[in-house]
């Protein structure tokens, strides 16, 4: 009897320690999620200082978003900019991670370099974006440099060409996040049993072979994690292109991301349409994450 009650009281503590998470999750995540879905069914916005609605309109907001054809365009823009940034980022991170964890290289000042590559992430995205905006302005330093060495005869309008804007956004995202990814991958690489590397070396494997045959396969769980978090972060891309293009997504909205589009609806506090858009994004995020997970997680059982 006595013994049994002791077990129960331990269980109780488990639940008590869970309370902070559950409360915060409910207040800041679950309630907004539900209210977003709820709001998406209403006509609900502000015109000047006059509140319109909420009037129940069923799925009209969803129909509007599907029929005006904007969603696929902005989704495409977002994904293009994400891929442009993510591919160099993961390559760079794998390379740096492999170098940092390779004991045979004996890199000096490792802590210093690890700190330095992480630093861009500490700058606010908007400040970083402002910096690039000034650097690549028509009369900015990059243009005057390029003109002085004779690459261009007149200022190249970086902000008015589709691919230059997208590349700038991708570059910034890559610079900001490669440090973070490197640290994650390094953690994964250091978790691999060193005896595997030694065994491979004894068997006469080259550094390239070791990287492709041992490091990469064993790194898969971490890679999946990096991929999914980056994908979700990429879908939410907002501050960098917003500041760089002054909210316009110029030229012709070719650098407008989904969240920038969402932000457009917040000018009129259009909770109905913005809510419907958010629900679409929720679904897209879910589907994409599942695909990544399915696709990369196949051999997971053997891996562990």
């Amino acid at each position: 009897m006595n013994k049994k009650s002791k077990v129960v009281s331990y269980n109780k503590w488990g639940y008590i320690f869970l309370i902070p998470f559950v409360v915060i999750y409910l207040v800041f995540q679950m309630i907004p999620l539900v209210s977003t879905i709820y709001n998406s069914l209403f006509e609900y916005y502000r015109s000047g200082l006059t509140q319109i609605g909420p009037n129940f309109v069923g799925f009209e907001n969803y129909a509007t978003i599907i029929t005006n054809g904007d969603l696929p365009t902005y989704f495409k823009n977002t994904m293009i900019m994400w891929v442009l940034g993510f591919v160099p980022q993961i390559v760079l991170s794998l390379l740096l991670g492999a170098w940092f964890t390779d004991p045979s290289l004996k890199l000096k000042c490792q802590t210093f370099f690890k700190t330095v590559i992480y630093l861009p992430n500490l700058i606010m995205a908007s400040a970083f974006s402002m910096l690039f905006f000034t650097l690549f302005a028509d009369s900015g330093p990059i243009n005057s440099m390029l003109m002085q060495i004779g690459v261009f005869h007149e200022a190249y309008k970086f902000m008015s060409n589709v691919w230059s804007v997208r590349t700038l956004v991708a570059t910034m995202n890559c610079l900001m996040w490669f440090g973070n990814t490197t640290i994650l991958l390094m953690a994964g690489m250091m978790g691999i049993d060193p005896s595997l590397f030694e065994a491979a070396q004894v068997d006469g494997a080259t550094a390239t072979q070791i990287f492709y045959k041992i490091t990469l396969p064993l790194l898969k769980p971490i890679l999946i994690f990096v991929m999914i978090t980056s994908l979700i972060g990429g879908l939410q891309m907002f501050d960098v292109p917003q500041i760089l293009t002054n909210g316009s997504g110029d030229p012709m909205r070719s650098s407008m991301t989904l969240i920038m589009y969402l932000n457009k609806h917040l000018f009129s506090k259009n909770y109905g349409l913005a809510g419907a858009l958010s629900v679409f994004m929720f679904i897209i995020t879910g589907i994409l994450s599942l695909i990544v997970f399915k696709f990369t997680g196949k051999e997971d059982k053997d891996g562990r």
């Binding site: 999750y25 800041f28 995540q29 679950m30 907004p32 999620l33 209210s35 977003t36 709820y38 709001n39 916005y45 502000r46 015109s47 000047g48 200082l49 006059t50 509140q51 319109i52 909420p54 005006n68 904007d70 000034t134 302005a137 028509d138 009369s139 900015g140 309008k157 008015s160 589709v162 999914i228 979700i232 939410q236 002054n246 316009s248 110029d250 030229p251 012709m252 909205r253 969240i259 969402l262 457009k264 609806h265 917040l266 000018f267 009129s268 259009n270 909770y271 349409l273 913005a274 809510g275 958010s278 629900v279 994004m281 929720f282 995020t285 879910g286 994450s289 599942l290 997970f293 997680g297």
Partner: protein, 466 residues
């Protein structure tokens, strides 16, 4: 595997909710925002001077978007003493400046929330005075949140010396006046004297005016300017000149209408950008501002009087203004730009002080003359402008000693504001943004116009644009 999918879903849910979470929560304010609609016609507006309750507020809240009015009040309102950057004192009342920049609509968003909460706000948090700009004045004036000046005991006689257009902007749909300005912002053509001598052979305001007297002459001059290696200005500089001279409102029967003069702006500007006579820089940006120095090779800016001391950086070495190198003339068409209006917030607990500030800052001729001379503002008083135009006290150093007041006063009489609407700001901004793509050859005119319409409907879901 299953557990992983569940946990993955949980992660996706949590992350997704981060951006999905901005909904709901201010249903409480639903009804308080109805615009003023009739009903108060029984109230006598003139003759009876309203009895104001005694001031009970200890804190006087002013909402504005930059330091301009603060420096005017500091310099010209005798009882005001500055405490620190955002606080001051008038007698024993604490003045609190709530300054939110206009960028990205932040000022209006902030003011909207504060006004909607005005009724329930504690005495110290109630807004007493707020400032608005012409582009969106109607949004606030045409509601009960702004007090009619007659309720403050300010009579038409007090305001008789002001220009009529400055009152039209802040008159609501029932004909009640709800604000006042110390500025009359008629605007004109500010040109670079050095460049004018080089290209037109003269820097005399009358002769330069002859070269830009209408849009055809302006376009011709612009081509000469381009041949000489200068740019005229940005297409965004000329926009207001065209948009002020439209024949109808932006929005008619909840439908967006593109006026003929706006079409003319689009076509003229495209031709000039293609000829490299104008550029497409956004106002206030670094590229746009380069013309403030001789090296920028910009022929002109379009601007009103506040542009002189607020935007030309006269106190910085090496600028054209510092060397007195600008000239001023009326330009192709008369127009106005901006200006700041003072509005009393309904529910103020310092009505007498609000009244006194509005009267002193916008009608006291001595104060207005001081403002004109110290800050080069074009003030809202026919008498003062006439005085300044007639003698040398209106001469400005940054214009090389030219007296711009005859042109400014003439312009202020001509400004016609029958075609403003509450949607002007959004429509103007979005049109300029969209057209930039057309000017730079990134889209056809129709594509750019479609994008403009799309953006306007996003901003104002109650409008249609087809």
């Amino acid at each position: 595997m299953k557990r992983k999918i569940v946990s993955l879903l949980a992660i996706a849910t949590m992350t997704a909710t981060m951006f999905a979470g901005c909904g709901g929560s201010d249903t409480a304010s639903t009804d308080s925002a109805a615009p003023a609609e009739g009903g108060e016609a029984t109230e006598t507006t003139e003759e009876t001077v309203a009895e104001l309750p005694e001031d009970t507020g200890k804190v006087f809240n002013i909402y504005c978007w930059n330091e301009e009015f603060k420096s005017r009040l500091t310099d010209h309102y005798a009882d005001y003493t500055e405490v620190d950057a955002t606080h001051g004192k008038i007698g024993d009342v604490d003045v609190v400046w709530n300054i939110t920049p206009s960028t990205d609509n932040a000022y209006q968003n902030n003011l909207d929330e504060a006004l909607l909460a005005q009724e329930s706000a504690s005495a110290d948090d109630k807004i007493d005075l707020f400032l608005v700009e012409a582009d969106y004045a109607l949004k606030y004036v045409d509601t009960d949140f702004a007090m009619p000046l007659s309720d403050l005991g300010i009579t038409d006689a007090d305001l008789a010396d002001q220009y009529k257009y400055t009152q039209d902007i802040v008159t609501d749909s029932n004909g009640k006046l709800k604000g006042a300005s110390w500025q009359a912002c008629s605007a004109g053509f500010i040109y670079n004297r050095e460049a004018a001598k080089e290209i037109l052979g003269t820097d005399d305001p009358d002769e330069v005016q002859a070269a830009v007297a209408d849009w055809d002459k302006y376009n011709e001059t612009a081509k000469k300017v381009a041949d000489a290696g200068y740019t005229m200005c940005s297409v965004n500089d000329t926009f207001r000149v065209y948009s002020n001279n439209v024949s109808g409102k932006w929005v008619q029967d909840d439908k967006v209408v593109i006026d003929k003069n706006i079409e003319k702006w689009i076509d003229d500007s495209k031709a000039l950008v293609d000829a490299k006579a104008e550029d497409t820089d956004d106002l206030w940006g670094d590229d746009w501002a380069k013309g403030k120095t001789p090296a920028g090779k910009v022929f002109c800016y379009f601007g009103p009087a506040w542009f002189f001391n607020f935007c030309l950086d006269a106190d910085q070495d090496g600028t054209i203004a510092n060397q007195g190198g600008w000239g001023y003339c009326v330009g192709p068409q008369s127009y106005y730009w901006g200006g700041t209006w003072l509005c009393a917030a309904t529910g103020t607990d310092n009505a007498n002080l609000v009244k006194d500030i509005i009267l002193t800052m916008t009608t006291d001729k001595a104060v207005l003359k001081e403002i004109a001379q110290k800050d080069a503002d074009c003030v809202n008083s026919k008498t003062v402008l006439k005085e300044l135009a007639s003698d040398e006290s209106g001469n400005l150093d940054l214009l090389g000693g030219q007296n711009p007041y005859p042109q400014l006063a003439e312009g202020a009489e001509k400004v016609d504001l029958s075609n403003i609407s509450a949607y002007d700001q959004g429509c103007n901004e979005e049109l300029q943004k969209a057209m930039k793509n057309y000017f730079l050859g990134k889209a056809t005119k129709d594509e750019a116009l479609d994008m403009f319409k799309k953006a306007v409907v996003e901003k104002y879901p109650n409008l249609t644009a087809e």
